[in-house]
Symmetry: C2
């Protein structure tokens, strides 16, 4: 006998300590409710129905309930109204709607709560039961109510008297039978059993299953139920229902907030039928609402709620929102769930909890989703500003910026050169626009989605960007932009891009600069203490480097020297170098570039004092520096002494079938050694000249696109020689490293070889992904969204590192490199360096650093700290 | 004492059995000579100086000779003239020139060989000694001889009498002292010691070392010497020297051949100072030489040589050329080395040896270098034809063919369509010309080297090709070709390309078809019995398949279906399909293509009865099928109903940045499933219609460019459904396989996954190499030659499989695939399939088949047999 009782208590566990505390079996809601009861909070008696029972119910019907159900029911107060709630394993999986007032009858309730409330509760039950259990058409009941109100000249059901409500109940009972084919069941037990069966079947339906699976839930099972005595919320005295939070959703600062309704049940306050009351006085003041808040109307209730909230926060070690019901002045708690929060609030709450000792600093760091930080790192539109919206699009890259409109990358460059960064407006962008995007204050496109070229590049640059503003129309010849409302904006007109909201605004809207202070600064400090990996930034200029340092980057992990050559005054000697026929002419042009490049490095070194700076030697194919053959090239012809026809032909001759796989990277360095020689000289001469400027940086020179050991060793030999020459010429001694950028699969496979000659390896995962998949990022846009949406690829591998393929190659490389040299530094540079999942991989793989765009440095720092902690815990678990 | 003698005999080993037989210590020449002596051949006494002694000589001078040297010398006949020869480890390493007649003096020799010969031998010694030992200027001696001949009115030194020769000797002795600073050493022992020292130093010199290393020799050591009594070749009776072979260098058929000179020594017959005698009567007859051959002049000597040759062939198990000297009618053998031979001769000799039991069939198969077979597989110009040469270039692809001149790929297509394959003449070719090259009879280019686009593609196609005919000039507008001699050829004029000789000829020269009979057929039969791997052909058409079958391919390993769509009458519906906006329009265009594609497959199946046919689904990016936007596109506009502007824009829109890494392969199949569906239907309907045509082929459908398992499984699902439909519609049952082409690094890494869904894996090593290196084959041409020449890459990885990188990926893939399914068939398709080194790798890796272009099938068959044998022997060695 005892065994059976035990078993029954597993299937039907009482709400409370020692009861339904196991969320896997009884759902999150039941588990939380049991904990609340255990904390001594006012929770009505009830029991949870285990998920196994619910599955069986869907399969076999009421027979599956078994004898334990009767026993559990018998422990509740006889005649009490019951609520039946879904308690899914996780809230995100969804679940059937709650059914309240089971067992309600006019006769039973009238003595307790008066004639009207009793009738109201009863007609609510019939209505909800018919719709949710019987599958009746909801509109039939709405119409019936509407007709009756109209007949009696009433505004709402609260204006009806007892007789009129009786009439409504009669109508509803008829409707129930009409719509479902069955009379409304009078017995409370029959109501409950039918309702449970309906919930179980709903959960098992195909549409619910698909939705649930898409949210990460299980296909089968996973739903428990809660049967609980009702706190009524209707009737005499102070009665009602609502939700109260105890910290601001926006800032995370302490303070009571929320909404409730008097004479209401369950989620009525959120349903929008009546205007809800605010709970906190401060919130009411801010919102400018006239009706007094609950805190003002019934301060003792607010005090009690506050006390319960504080208790819940301590117990759950998190800010919790409480669902409550007031029954004739008495407060009952119906549930608790983590308070919704903005990124800023999330940081504040975690830090507060750690500072009160409720959680550790480590846990505080784990609780903040790194991606959400990006909201906090960009300027935002002042919330008090008036917004004159031109168009809506997709929020492709956060931040807000204003500037004059330009319609071409060249115009954006020109504006930046004049010191007035512009807003670049395009139908869509292509790689040729990258330079312009680099100098633009913001980018706005008519076409494209969240993974369009403009979106991806802008996020990398930290430039505010809105894409897919399909309501806009562009007239490039007239240089005009027409808004959906017909307003016309011309080149030079000021507009503002709000990348977080996905909106374009007329004029220059006032912005608020991001603050890296308070709780956020504290949290980042903890993260920095916890993380094992270094976080470097991809920064090409002293300006980039300053931004990176502002975000506390540990150094520069990727300085792309080619960007230096696109600048005004440099592109011409660069083109002369490229078009030179003879090595001597090439060297002459490089002589012109040398002092410029040296000055670039001096600038960079001054900013990065004492920190490592990884400089990648020239990488792109040389034709990328040439104008298109059909562009205006007269000047260039003059400079190079070629005829226009010759020049056009030379430019056309240099084009490649697959530039990504062409004569670029170290292939340039091998076939035209003088280019890298010039760059090496600039690197070392800059070092010698920076001698007195404080702690010396240690340059790490990175050779791109290596596929064979000898490529790297030949280039290293040259660089070492130049270093020795410069040291001798200047009388300065300096140290430096030379490494390779592992970005071809072959370099990864041969990492054991490479480690023999090189001081470090840095994985260039953008190109490595392209080559491992055989997929050009520029061309993949045409089908990547289809591919990811239809599940062919689980994720866009350019967005989050492909652990199974690219990651595997990296692990092969790591093992081989370390076999040659156990302590060779390994890093990752590329956009994945700012992606938390990819960072998690790098931590597990034991890499030394990641490098990402400056604006993602804080995200990477936090993600690194989380990765370190999680990895350590995983190991501790494995060892335990 | 005994130990020292033993040791001395190791350093100075007598020529003969039990003597200098170890080639590693005494060199190949000494070892062969010892064997000849051991066979009882007439070999003069002598000894070999071990390589260790020679190294020591270079370092320490004559002191290094030690006491053993005197002892060895003492065993030779007192007063005998000595020859000193280099005996390097391998002949290819080179070596210092031979020194003859050491110890010669007029007094010593005159009694034996008469006054003139004695003086001739003496002045030869002084001359050679001064130049090779003393480092004197050779010209000084030439001038002295010239002056003396002139003074006496003589034509050659043979016309000089004894007094005049004495005068010459005096002059030479003076010259020796003048040039070298030392008097000519009179003592034979001093001459020998000085000569040995000089040879040792020469061998150790930097230039000799570099040359040797470049030929695969050792940097240090590796040179032994031979000191041997001279057979004189000068003087009374039948005296002279020469070389005799006993099989034709061209055909391998038995028969005495070679050259000799009477009254001559060493290599005089090859030196070109006097016209040599031919040795064989038949050879003399063929060459039309007047002077009687040795066989005719002294048949008994020829008979003796023949007997010695037969003995050597048996003993060395190879056709050997003998170096001999006649001394007063007596025959002495000076050395033996394998007879030089053409590819045809090599086959014949190996087969003959095996048939006489001298070697095994297995060894016969190992002895023929597979690459040389290509000479035997193509038509050649009839050797009796008169050759009217237009121009010379590089022999880029063997074979000879004639046809009318065309100057564009389109014209080549058109000519082929008219049934008159043309000779395509271009400045150089680019990928756009590939179609035209496919239909051309031969290709001729003005520019380019052996690895130019034209050369590589032509070799793959088996099309005769000559590149780099820089003497030709092309006028494309006038459609004229001007030869260096000023002759002008117009479009349509007949010319002939001789790809083996690297020549273009005027008119249609008569050709001889290759024969696959006799010894070659026999050898290939043995190879087929020995080889483990199957050899399939890459064949796109029934015509290709017929060629492949003629070369005994085991099936088709790669049928590229895209080539079918380029044909006349197909390209238009193909373009309509590509330009269609809606799926319905695309399907309509595909409906037109279906019967054509079905007919292609029926043709292929009929040829390949019963054999496997691997069909690759559409692979190239669709824009490759479109005309260039600036081409004539009026017709296409009309067909598609687009305006010219729209059409140009659509074409431009479809261009890709990196087509190799773009929307191609299975990415087309996933995003436009109807294309592969049409192809699958054509494959199966063709199968159903081929039902009664004999043994049914089993199609193996190959999915290109897979990088993720789900790509392959989605496409497989579609194909399986269509197979089931066609089986139901037609009532026929058939079997087929579906596999993937592993050509992205990721597919290789995920081969374990892929093997779970697929019936086979075939490595597409062309693309796999491109992606593993991050190197486009089309663009690599710009620097690949530099890279290989300077040793950055050991070999062009597109030519011979990169074992360390690409090969490693393939082994990872093999291991993972076999872990999932132990018996999954693995193949290689791509140009590497015809490369013997790559085939060797595939054998070692345990692959099941290779597939290569039809013309390389015999090469692959032979290489597979060799790989099987070598792999087995390696394993046997490892086990022993």
């Amino acid at each position: 006998m005892r065994a059976e009782t035990e078993f029954s208590r597993e299937l039907y566990a009482p709400i409370g300590p020692g009861g339904a505390e196991d969320a896997a079996r009884y759902g999150r809601k039941a588990a939380n409710l049991s904990r609340l009861a255990g904390l001594g909070m006012p929770v009505k008696p009830g029991f949870a129905v285990a998920a196994d029972v619910v599955s069986a119910l869907a399969d076999r019907g009421a027979a599956a309930l078994g004898p334990g159900f009767e026993a559990a029911l018998a422990e509740l107060a006889p005649g009490a109204l019951l609520a039946l709630r879904a308690s899914p394993g996780r809230k995100e999986w969804g679940g059937p709607a709650t059914l309240l007032n089971l067992g309600a009858s006019v006769e039973g309730l009238e003595p307790r709560i008066g004639p009207c409330a009793a009738r109201d509760a009863t007609r609510r039950l019939i209505h909800a039961f018919a719709v949710h259990v019987g599958g009746a058409d909801p509109e039939a009941f709405e119409y019936a109510l509407h007709d009756l109100l109209k007949a009696h000249g009433a505004d709402s059901e609260h204006d009806l008297d007892a007789d009129q409500l009786d009439e409504l109940i009669e109508t509803f009972l008829d409707l129930h039978e009409e719509e479902t084919g069955d009379p409304f069941p009078a017995s409370p037990a029959a109501q409950l059993a039918a309702a449970m069966g309906a919930m179980a079947r709903t959960w098992a339906s195909t549409s619910a299953r698909l939705l649930r699976v898409s949210r990460g839930g299980p296909e089968q099972g996973g739903l428990a139920l809660i049967v609980q005595e009702m706190a009524l919320g209707l009737g005499a005295g102070l009665s009602g229902a609502g939700r109260a939070a105890f910290r601001s959703e926006r800032s995370g600062a302490p303070g009571i907030e929320g909404r409730m309704l008097f004479q209401a049940q369950g989620n009525d306050a959120l349903a929008g039928l009546r205007t809800p009351r605010l709970i906190g006085a401060a919130e009411r003041g801010e919102a400018g609402v006239r009706d007094p808040s609950l805190e003002e109307a019934a301060p003792e209730i607010a005090d009690r709620l506050r006390a319960l909230g504080a208790k819940a926060e301590r117990a759950f070690q998190d800010a919790m929102t409480l669902e409550f019901t007031l029954e004739d002045g008495e407060l009952f708690v119906l549930g608790a769930e983590p308070t919704r929060r903005s990124a800023r609030a999330s940081v504040r709450i975690s830090v507060d909890l750690a500072k009160t000792g409720a959680i550790s600093e480590e846990d505080a760091v784990l609780r903040v989703e790194p991606r959400t930080l990006s909201e906090l790192l960009h300027p935002t539109i002042d919330p008090r500003a008036t917004r004159d919206r031109i168009a809506r699009g997709l929020p492709a890259s956060p931040g807000a910026a204003s500037g004059p409109i330009v319609f071409s990358a060249e115009a954006a460059d020109a504006a930046a050169a004049r010191g007035v960064p512009a807003v670049l407006v395009r139908v869509e962008t292509s790689p040729e626009d990258i330079r312009g995007m680099h100098s633009a204050a913001a980018v706005l496109t008519v076409r494209g989605g969240m993974t369009s070229h403009a979106a991806v590049v802008a996020r990398g640059l930290g430039t505010p960007c809105v894409v897919g503003c399909s309501g806009l129309s562009l007239d490039l010849e007239a240089r005009e932009l027409t808004a959906p409302d017909g307003r016309v904006f011309r080149e030079g007109d000021q507009i503002t891009v709000d990348g977080a909201a996905g909106e374009a605004l007329a004029g220059a809207a006032p912005t608020v600069q991001p603050e890296f202070s308070g709780a956020l600064a504290e949290l980042m400090g903890w993260a920095d203490r916890l993380r094992r990996m270094r976080v470097r930034a991809n920064a090409d200029t002293a300006q980039d480097a300053r931004v990176a340092l502002g975000f506390a980057a540990d150094g520069i992990g990727l300085c792309r020297t080619e960007h230096m050559f696109f600048e005004k005054g440099r592109i011409t000697p660069m083109r002369r170098m490229i078009l030179a026929d003879r090595e001597a002419d090439r060297r002459a042009a490089l002589e012109v570039l040398l002092p410029m490049q040296r000055a670039d490095f001096i600038g960079l070194y001054r900013v990065m004092q004492g920190r490592p700076v990884t400089i990648r030697l020239l990488d792109p194919p040389l034709h990328e520096f040439l104008p298109h053959p059909d562009e205006e090239i007269d000047d260039l012809a003059e400079v190079t002494g070629l005829t226009l026809r010759q020049l056009r032909r030379r430019i056309a001759d240099m084009q490649e079938f697959n530039p990504m796989l062409g004569k670029r990277g170290c292939r340039l360095g091998i076939t035209m050694p003088e280019i890298y020689q010039m760059q090496a000289r600039a690197i070392f001469e800059a070092l010698a000249q920076s001698w007195t400027d404080g702690p010396l940086v240690r340059p790490e020179i990175m050779i791109p696109l290596v596929s064979a050991r000898r490529e790297a060793s030949l280039i290293r030999r040259d660089i070492d020689q130049i270093a020795a020459s410069v040291a001798e010429e200047t009388g300065k001694g300096f140290s430096y490293k030379i490494g390779v950028m592992v970005e071809t699969p072959r370099a990864a496979l041969r990492a054991g070889d490479l480690a023999g000659d090189m001081d470090f390896l840095s994985f260039g995962t953008n190109d490595l992904t392209q080559m491992t998949y055989g997929l050009s990022r520029d061309d993949a846009g045409r089908f990547m969204r289809d591919y990811v949406n239809s599940g062919v690829f689980a994720e866009d591998p350019f967005h989050s590192l492909d652990i199974e393929g690219v990651g595997e190659l990296m692990m092969i490389a790591r093992d081989r490199a370390r076999e040659t040299r156990i302590d060779i530094p390994l890093g990752l540079c590329g956009e994945h360096g700012g992606d938390p999942a990819s960072i998690r991989f790098c931590e597990a793989a034991g890499f030394d650093y990641v490098s990402c765009s400056p604006f993602r440095v804080p995200i990477a720092r936090l993600a690194c700290a989380q990765a370190t902690v999680l990895q350590r815990r995983l190991q501790e678990e494995a060892e335990a």
